[in-house]
Assembly symmetry: C2
């Protein structure tokens, strides 16, 4: 077998595995948007069969043969070529898959399924004690997973690495602690400004779903979401998924009590979809055609949601659209709308948090997860530790676990080591937005006129087109010209909220 | 390996294969209802991979081992047990799959794909000469398929057997010729009655989609379609598909020019879905849990569409609903509505044909297909032969091939030997409706009050619950107490249209 033949076998195998995964993606999309209630049992069986078929391929021993043939060959000479990236990533996923004992993979899947069902029931009932043993089991099994796949410094690193290749607890700690300190200080300043008149008020409330939908569709289209290559639907929890080239789908929910949730949720998911739509189609089905990490994915959604969507310029574009689509908003001013979408306030729920406090929610989770995995904290002591940190970072205490340590589905789903990618996304986005302004000139004027294409093209060239060819940090360094640091995000937030709150 | 172990391996294999097929069904449903235009290329790749995986399983040589172990064992003692039916059907599909050379299967799939694309383009342009070579290729390849899988009397039988197990050209010929003669005579009588005032007129025209949709949803629900276990959507061509237990989906289209198309199309697809919803869930994934044939499937859709939907009783139930949902219908009478949904008129297009002429369209196709496969007719001579038979059976001549021998997609799709199942469905339905009336008493009163459940329960008990345990003819014989004959359908049509047309 020549190197080229081995490479082509790997590529075919990778492509077929991706086709199965993209089939599972459609089953998942349908499950969240279209499926009739009685169809869930069968859907779980379909998904379980597909995940079994995908796993069989991931651990196929012939991959080892093929990989051994291409590694160190001429194909890997140029470190950042599509071929080198593919070979590196195929190796990474093969090694991880074969190191994880089948017994543990099955136990994890089962435990996560039971824990999610328990969470669905226990959270609304505020029943931490029923949920607790599930969380204990999952942290125990994920620690076993970390031991099985291996790590250099601490177990957390083995879990984080799946979501953000190359990052470790130690690489994040200095970033997060600097960010946490400064954001807590900024939050104190904002609270001290004591502007209780600044709330979303009537401008964001009472708009019916149809009016919100019409507004959202116009904006999503303007941002560059191509409806001939995608769909926008309604689901209980907004998400973005990609079925394949030419088929990216986002969902949104409309709440009468809050336009911000639907509107900025839609912009967020559009950011994810634009990344997927911008990946190099010619590499579809191999790592060179895939998004590089959850952090970079989140940088795209956050960039469009916050750096664009909550900017002065964008609000100038948004105001006439709001007036056209939403009755009773005729007298709204730019300043009112700008402030309404930029309210900062310490709150209990991460997913509803503003730009300043959001990262504090994430840092809290990062600190708790690392302590749990190091054995410095017992799962049963989570509620107390949670509340303590909420008080420390945000100055508030959850009235119950449902609005405290039971609010997220992540731990029940076995997604441990996942939360940091949200804040990494914000950090990356700050670098990228600053770099785009450096290259394109001040974007405020363009955004106010609904000209989003130059920014999208910049992201396509500097981020989307590269697939997995660079590590996340390297990708951000190349695009922004500097190493990842917390200053970019802090400078942006401090300057922005000085404006919003007249600090 | 014990018999029981071999049986369980077959069952697991069958279940997983069905899960893959049901996944393909969802991909297909999405492709007809939801997919964005640019997503079709990727969808074709997903479907092609799945069909490859399914084929691999169908020809898996271990099936032969397992089958050899269970055949003739105690499991097959009771001929009509689920186990015996499963073993018989697994053998049938395995033998057929392994007899078909892979080379031929690939050629057929490719030829059908090319022919359908050619048909899409050639039909609106009335371009028979471009389409001709595709039809020639498909008839040649399907004849090869017949030779490869084998037959007793003539090649047609090998093709028909896939759709209607147990039937042959020779078993259909006497049924169809008796039916053809009598229907042509009935049609002449109707034409002679010369009631040109009887047309759908304003009652069926000009209703907008939303009003039609509201009417259709109410009726579909009343018929017993459970929206917690199914969906109703819009597609270019109405169809019914089943994703799995608890998930049956139908589609419909609404045309302003003709309420009948949407309304009776929806009732027809509901009939298919009710069959699927009534199959024994405990046998899902094995033949004992599957519909027995296309003819029996069609008997369910036709029974609800015609024997119920176009009856005097049903129209009494329908009239107030029409008046509620469709503006401008206040003054309609029962007689007007009954006649409007029962217009008989020789027409060019099979899918738009009425109860009397529909079977003539099918008989014509059956006669042409058998002649083509026997070599008594050349594909190039199809248009002339078609027109001659149209004149013979319906007294009209198509003005162009688009409304003649190019109207159906079936031949382009390689569905040769498929048409007879439509008329078998009508014949079966006549038997079943008569038998249900025998068991339940005259249904007219119940239908007029929207009481459909007794009939549905009768069908569930006598047809749906049996899966593939009996051959189609045996199933109909058991349910109706008599051998299949054309008289049941003829008696029903003659009595009914004497009423409609005052013959």
């Amino acid at each position: 077998m020549t190197e080229r033949q081995a490479y082509e076998l790997l590529q075919l195998d990778s492509r077929e595995t991706s086709l199965l995964a993209s089939t599972a993606a459609l089953l998942g999309w349908d499950q969240s948007t279209m499926i009739p209630p009685a169809g869930h049992g069968h859907r779980a069986e379909q998904l379980s069969l597909l995940s079994g078929l995908i796993h069989e391929r991931l651990v196929n021993p012939r991959r080892e043969e093929w990989l051994a043939r291409v590694e160190g060959s001429g194909l890997t000479k140029d470190l950042h070529s599509a071929e080198a990236a593919n070979i590196r990533e195929w190796r990474r996923s093969f090694d991880r898959a074969v190191k994880l004992p089948t017994r543990l993979a099955v136990e994890l899947a089962k435990a996560a399924s039971l824990a999610q069902a328990a969470w669905e029931k226990a959270r609304p009932e505020n029943d931490w004690h029923t949920f607790l043993p599930h969380v204990e089991t999952l942290f125990r099994l994920k620690r076993e997973e970390a031991e099985a796949v291996g790590y250099e410094h601490e177990p957390y690193d083995a879990l984080l690495d799946v979501y953000e290749p190359g990052e470790t607890a130690a690489s994040l700690a200095p970033l997060f602690s600097a960010l946490g300190r400064s954001l807590a200080a900024l939050l104190e300043q904002i609270i001290a400004a004591n502007q209780s008149d600044l709330d979303r008020g009537k401008l964001m409330q009472g708009h019916d779903s149809q009016a919100q939908e019409a507004l959202v569709r116009e904006i999503v289209r303007d941002l560059g979401f191509d409806f001939s290559s995608g769909r926008l639907d309604i689901s209980a929890h907004p998400f973005s998924t990609t079925i394949g080239p030419g088929d990216a789908r986002i969902t949104v929910r409309y709440q009468k009590a809050d336009l911000v949730d639907g509107l900025f949720g839609a912009i967020h998911e559009t950011g994810h979809a634009l990344y997927e739509m911008g990946l190099p189609t010619e590499h579809w089905g191999s790592p060179a055609g895939e998004s590089v990490s959850l952090g970079v994915h989140e940088s795209q959604s956050r960039l469009w949601e916050n750096f664009v969507g909550r900017s002065q310029g964008f609000v100038r574009y948004l105001l006439p659209l709001v007036k056209t689509h939403l009755p009773g908003t005729d007298s709204a001013t730019h300043r009112e709308l700008y402030r309404a979408v930029n309210v900062v306030s310490p709150s209990l729920i991460r997913t509803e948090a503003d730009e300043v406090t959001y990262n504090l929610h994430v840092i809290l989770r990062f600190e708790l997860e690392t302590a749990l995995l190091r054995g410095d904290l017992a799962v049963k002591d989570l509620p107390g530790a949670w509340d303590e940190k909420m008080q420390h970072y945000l100055g508030i205490t959850p009235p119950d676990p449902a609005r405290g340590c039971m609010q997220d589905v992540h731990w029940a789903a076995g997604l441990i080591g996942y939360f940091p990618t949200y804040t990494l996304g914000n950090l990356y986005a700050a670098h990228l937005f600053a770099a785009a302004q450096r290259d394109l000139g001040d974007l405020d004027q363009a955004l106010s006129q609904g000209e989003f294409l130059p920014l999208l093209e910049w992201l396509r060239t500097n981020i989307h087109a590269h697939g997995m060819r660079f590590s996340p940090r390297e990708l951000i360094r190349r695009a922004s010209g500097e190493d990842l640091n917390p200053e970019r995000l802090l400078t942006y937030l401090e300057a922005k909220f000085a404006q919003v709150y007249d600090l």
